[in-house]
Amino acid sequence: MKKIKRENLKQLFDLISSGQRLYIPIKKAGQTNYGIYAADSRVDLDTLKTVKSSKEAFFPQSETLYTVTKENRKIKITQQELEGEDFVLFGVRGCDIKGAQVLDRVFLSSPVDSFYEARRNHGIIVALACSEPEESCFCTTFGVDPTEPEGDVTTWFKGEYLYWKANTEKGERLTALCSELLTDADEAAVEEEKESIKAILSRLPYADLSLESWHGDATNEKFGSELWKELYKPCLACGTCTFVCPTCQCYDLKDYDTGSGVQRYRCWDSCMYSDFTMMAHGNNRTSQMQRFRQRFMHKLVYFPANNDGMYSCVGCGRCVDKCPASTNIVKVIKAFSKEVNSK
């Protein structure tokens, strides 16, 4: 266990970023999002949740896959180079780390997504425990431990200090790199902090949120429920929930003509959009009810069905905070448990 004074964090960031890219929550124009650290960045580790999750570091909102150029009447395809350098992702909360594990299931299972894999291999995650969980948090429901999130390094804020514990070989390397700024610490303060967090967790409004009846075998029971017909109604069909979500992984492939060549890129897509998976014959989900249902069925039923019971929601609560119509996954889960209870 190591520690570093809060006031020395800037030196730490400067040091880390001198040899590699450092992704860290940065406050810009009033909002905190992950960004690449620069000496003048306004690092913000106090905001619990970045607007967008940290998934962008591994699965950016858009990325070029290959470029097609024309030489006379012949075409040439150039693949985009894979991530080849280590980078540090700093201040990741437990929910986002769990989110990465969900994405691993998608992108690292065969066929492996090499772009994602390369980033994942080169990324060093410095996790940060949640000193002050918020009302919309329900990560514990999905088995996340925000008191000690699993990263290559796990850190805690306590008093004047940031406590630092390396968990993996990558983490040890980073610790070694920062050794001049880190001093030894005992675990007592961290244990105290963990207890303090636990106390708050037990008081969270969603602490008792139950996933009972949500599992991989629930397809038939849930799919045909009449509840969806009411639940979807406030939905504006925007993509806010999917774009702030740490686990949403759907993307579209598109071409862009730069004038000197065509870039094939992929970008996030949202199952909430009416043109999602649009095909020549039309769309396989023709109503917003169906799209709305798909999102939650996927997260809470289909995904666990195909991934050993792992849900593809991590309880970060971003959608709870951000939905313009105040509808969200918690309301969906609760609506169904009410139905179960009333039966």
Binding site: G259, G282, T286
Partner: protein, 662 residues
């Protein structure tokens, strides 16, 4: 599958001197879709066109780009050439390498580079061209003339003489219009009624002309060749078929307090009346605001005296619907209201009158039986002052900015007639300029000055002050002598400006014809299409388009008629295929497009739309391609890009942009 052919013209040395045409050909060959490219000395020549035709046939080209002079020069030529070779003429694009490249760029490298880009843009566009077919629409062989003054009558006569049915809609009880109110006409001084009435009679008698007097156009729909018009025939309360025109009813009518419109309000008329003795049709109407029977239910004198039994108090307005191939607007003018010109004391003194009122006073059938006398005391005037440009050529917002055009001449006429008949009367005319551009006009004016001794004073009148003795003190200025003048007059005549008949606004809206700030109807082109409205099938006759005198009106009336005849003579109209088209699958039906369409070409329908298997009824825009002229205003008003312009589609223009910026 696309197969584009590119044909680069040398235009002798016009293009080839500053553009490396061989390079343009080589570069064109690399563009997507291009399967053939060649150059030639003169593409527009017979041999050049033959090359194009041959390539189209041999290589089965789906589109061609001709790199030559401006499309304004030879687009039509190459379209015809393509059509002959079996290619849709709208699959042709022109790259303007001469006017917009070789002629302005001296440096061959620079010129060639630009030529390559322009060619590239044209290829990018033609790749997205679609075959377009000019549509056809039928023509209803009947014309409508709105307004029954001299303009309307002449237009109707000319159309009818060419063998087509014409309806005249006139809102007053008789045709004749303003000209019927005039006493004499310049520059010949012949009697207005003597030359007008025969025309009125001709119109009424013409087997191809149908008169709807005391009627108004209420609704217009449709488009060139096929308008549907609703006409309201106001209740006359007199059966036109039974009335013999004997006039007894008018004599016996006890309600005689209404102002005679025909006499400019200077005399009274009965509640049952014809506007004037020679009215056509010679069937009176009952003015429901004056008729005692219609107002109170008592009286019924006219009915009692009518031997023909033509009086029908129960008559109702009748709306008839008729179809027309063409519409002529001939709504004429009114004299402006003089409320803004009280410095001339028009409202204060009966002896301050407008020129039109003077016409009535001078007319034998007028309120004074043609005797020149003061309306206040009936005495003959000794000193008359004419004031020109009252409300015309007005810089401030007070009046009209334009010249009313007829006033100089009619004032000269009035002055001359007065001096001729009453040589002892002094006549003074205050004027800004005297404008006499017309055949025998200046000679006419000079006669007034030189032979008849009319006193023309260049200068304006500041004030007319009625005096206690009944005379009028005219405060003016003589600009030539630089003197203030005070003239004691016993009659002042104002040459009030004329303005379009106020009903024209409503009519323009119905016809989607545009009007200018002064409410004159806009012509399609101020020089080259002066009698056509920008709305196809709508034509302009007379003062509704701008101030005119009688000879000009009659010539414009004839011109409008020949345009109508030219239209009605066709059995089918070819429509411009570069028209707007809405994608009804995605149209919102929001009306943004219709709001900017200058031709009223867009309407809305509730249509059952099948969107990939989901059937729903939506309100969608429908463009009438016969009306659409292809400006594209609607395409930009449409936020979802659903409205597109064929031949200049969104994607075509975007492709050009991309090609240029590449």
């Amino acid at each position: 599958m696309h197969g584009i052919g590119v044909f680069v013209c040398h235009c002798g040395s016009n293009i080839a001197a500053t553009v490396d045409v061989k390079k343009v050909v080589e570069m064109a060959k690399l563009e997507p879709g291009v399967v053939h490219a060649e150059d030639y000395q003169y593409m527009c020549s017979e041999a050049g066109q033959e090359k194009i035709a041959q390539a189209i046939k041999e290589k089965n080209l789906s589109g061609i780009v001709v790199c030559s002079c401006s499309p304004r020069m030879h687009e039509a030529t190459f379209r015809k050439c393509a059509e002959k070779a079996g290619l849709n003429p709208y699959m042709v694009e022109i790259a303007n390498l001469r006017e917009q490249c070789s002629w302005i760029h001296k440096d061959i490298e620079e010129g060639t580079e630009k030529a390559v880009i322009l060619t590239r843009a044209a290829i990018a566009k033609v790749n997205l061209n679609t075959s377009l077919e000019a549509g056809e629409s039928g023509v209803i062989k009947r014309a409508l003339v709105i307004g029954g003054g001299i303009a309307g009558i002449q237009t109707a006569l000319d159309i009818a003489d060419a063998g087509y049915e014409v309806d005249i809609v006139e809102k007053t009880p008789s045709i004749g219009g303003k000209m019927a109110q005039l006493d004499k006409t310049f520059p010949t001084l012949d009697c207005s009624a003597c030359i007008l009435t025969p025309k009125m009679v001709d119109a009424a008698a013409h087997e191809k002309i149908n008169l709807y007097t005391y009627s108004e156009v209420e609704k217009v729909s449709g488009f060139v060749g096929d308008f549907t018009v609703e006409i309201r025939k106001k209740a006359r309360y007199v059966n036109m078929d039974k009335c013999t025109g004997c006039g007894v009813c008018m004599e016996k009518c006890p309600s005689k307090k209404a102002k005679s419109e025909f006499n400019s309000g200077l005399s009274n008329r009965p509640a049952i009346y014809t506007p004037f003795a020679q009215a056509i049709p010679n069937v009176p109407v009952i003015d429901p605001t004056q008729c005692i029977k219609l107002k109170t239910g008592k009286c019924g004198v006219c009915e009692k005296f009518c031997q023909a039994g033509a009086i029908d108090y129960k008559q109702k307005d009748e709306v008839i619907t008729q179809k027309y191939g063409a519409i002529v607007v001939a709504t004429g003018f009114e004299v402006i209201k003089l409320d803004n010109y009280d410095e001339y004391a028009y409202s204060q003194s009966k002896d301050v009158i407008t020129s039109l009122e003077l016409e009535r006073i001078m007319n034998a059938a007028g309120p004074t039986k043609g005797h020149l006398e003061r309306l206040s005391d009936g005495k003959p005037p000794k000193n008359i002052v004419f004031i020109q440009c009252v409300g015309s050529r007005c810089a401030e917002n007070k009046g009209k900015s334009y010249c009313s055009k007829i006033c100089c001449m009619y004032t000269a006429k009035h002055a001359m007639l007065i001096r001729d008949k009453y040589p002892d009367v002094n006549v003074t005319v205050f004027y800004i300029d005297v404008r006499t551009p017309g055949k025998n006009f200046d000679e006419f004016y000079r006669r007034a000055v030189e032979e008849y001794g009319v006193n023309y004073v260049k200068g304006q009148v500041g004030k007319v002050a009625p005096q206690a003795d009944g005379s009028l003190l005219v405060h003016g200025v003589d600009l030539i002598d630089g003197k203030q003048l005070k003239i004691s007059a016993d009659m002042v005549v104002l040459a009030a400006a004329i303005e379009p008949n106020p009903t024209v606004r409503n009519i323009a809206t119905m016809l989607t014809a545009s009007i200018d700030t002064n409410n004159f109807l806009t012509e399609a082109h101020p020089k080259l299409r002066p009698v056509e409205s920008p709305t196809a099938g709508v034509f302009l006759s007379g003062v509704c388009q701008g101030p005119k005198d009688i000879p000009e009106t009659v010539s414009q009336a004839g011109a409008a008629a020949i345009k109508v005849v030219g239209l009605l003579a066709k059995d089918k109209l070819m429509t411009n295929p570069c028209t707007a088209k809405a994608d009804e699958l995605l149209c919102n039906g929001c009306s943004a497009c219709a709001n900017v369409c200058p031709y009223g070409a867009i309407s809305y329908e509730d249509k059952l739309i099948n969107d990939h298997g989901i059937r729903k009824t939506h309100r969608v825009a429908v463009v009438n391609s016969a009306l659409c002229q292809g400006c594209g205003a609607c395409t930009v008003a449409c936020p979802s890009g659903v409205m597109d312009l064929q031949g200049f589609s969104n994607r075509q223009i975007i492709a050009e942009v991309d090609a240029i910026c590449r």
